[in-house]
């Protein structure tokens, strides 16, 4: 169902819950994987996703249809995930160690050693490069769509992705 149709239903008296349920069903999977690649652990991703949708619910009455619904939700999810990470990093003395421990404790991670190393490399990237890398590498989004989600120009995003790839490769080669 298209954004416009979802919003039309939402603004019909008495259909808010139904429309919101449709939104959750339409976008939760995409948002979950975006969040999971930032926070890595299922339990954290679940919390962040829930907080994201609570914010979406609270913000929907003010949402203007000029913006794309998914782009708006994606921005909320990104902010929530990054804030969650910041909080975690603040309370952790050795973040790399904590991250590895969290991955090992996560029952929804298969324990692949090479992937653990890869996640560490991605996690060490600066915020913007990490976001661009995830969207391009995992979601295989075209640059035009990433511009829609995070702004900037295609040129700057290409540069970010290139730098991110180089840093990850260097990180993986160091050990």
């Amino acid at each position: 169902m298209k954004d416009k149709e979802l919003l039309n239903i939402y603004f019909i008296e008495g259909r808010k819950h139904y429309a919101f349920n449709l939104m959750v069903r339409s976008y939760s999977k995409r948002l979950y994987w975006h969040i999971r690649r930032l926070v890595h652990v299922h339990e954290d991703a679940d919390d962040v996703l829930q907080n994201t949708f609570i914010k979406v619910w609270k913000g929907l009455p003010q949402f203007r249809a000029e913006a794309k619904l998914y782009s708006w939700m994606h921005r909320i999810a990104t902010n929530e995930a990054l804030n969650h990470l910041k909080k975690q990093k603040k309370i952790s003395q050795d973040w790399d160690e904590t991250l590895l421990q969290q991955l090992e404790d996560d029952p929804y991670f298969d324990g692949d050693e090479a992937y653990k190393k890869f996640i560490q490399a991605v996690d060490a990237l600066p915020e913007k490069q990490k976001l661009v890398f995830n969207l391009k590498y995992f979601d295989r989004l075209p640059y035009a769509d990433i511009v829609d989600l995070h702004g900037g120009t295609e040129g700057s995003l290409k540069a970010s992705y290139h730098h991110a790839c180089k840093k990850i490769k260097d990180f993986l080669l160091t050990d």
């Binding site: 069903r25 299922h42 996703l49 619910w57 609270k58 298969d110 090479a114 890869f118």
Partner: protein
């Protein structure tokens, strides 16, 4: 270089619990219901607090406003001594009684200068005034 990284794109490494997304949608409906209850409860409290505090607050504001207004508009009761003090402070050279009279009227103060004293003053100052002619 990017091809070297392709091998890490393993979809199966990260998993979710079974039927996670269906269950999540249901859980979200429940959470939103609770959020709404919480919000309506908070709204009720806010409304009650608004009523409870707005009436006394408005009373205090109005009393303060009228208190200040009354203080500013209160008539000043000057006696001769105050007037003399004022004249001394201002170091005013009174060239005519008109100014003194104006000042007296402006201050809305009852003057305790007797007509006799006023006549004497006028005569001393050699001021022609209708008050002299009336006597």
């Amino acid at each position: 270089m990017k091809d070297e990284l392709k091998k890490y794109r393993k979809e199966e490494v990260l998993k979710t619990p079974e039927d996670y997304f269906d269950k999540f949608a249901y859980r979200m409906q429940m959470t939103i219901g609770e959020e709404e209850k919480k919000t309506s409860w908070l709204t009720k409290i806010a409304y009650t607090l608004k009523l409870r505090w707005s009436v006394p607050l408005m009373t205090v504001v109005m009393l303060s406003f009228f208190g200040i207004w009354y203080e500013q508009n209160d008539t000043v009761q000057l006696n001769d001594q105050d007037l003399m003090l004022f004249l001394a402070e201002e170091n005013t050279d009174w060239s005519s009684t008109d100014e003194l009279m104006d000042l007296t009227y402006e201050a809305k103060s009852p003057s305790y200068i007797s007509d006799q004293e006023l006549l004497m003053y006028l005569k001393e100052e050699n001021i022609e005034h209708e008050l002299i002619q009336s006597f």
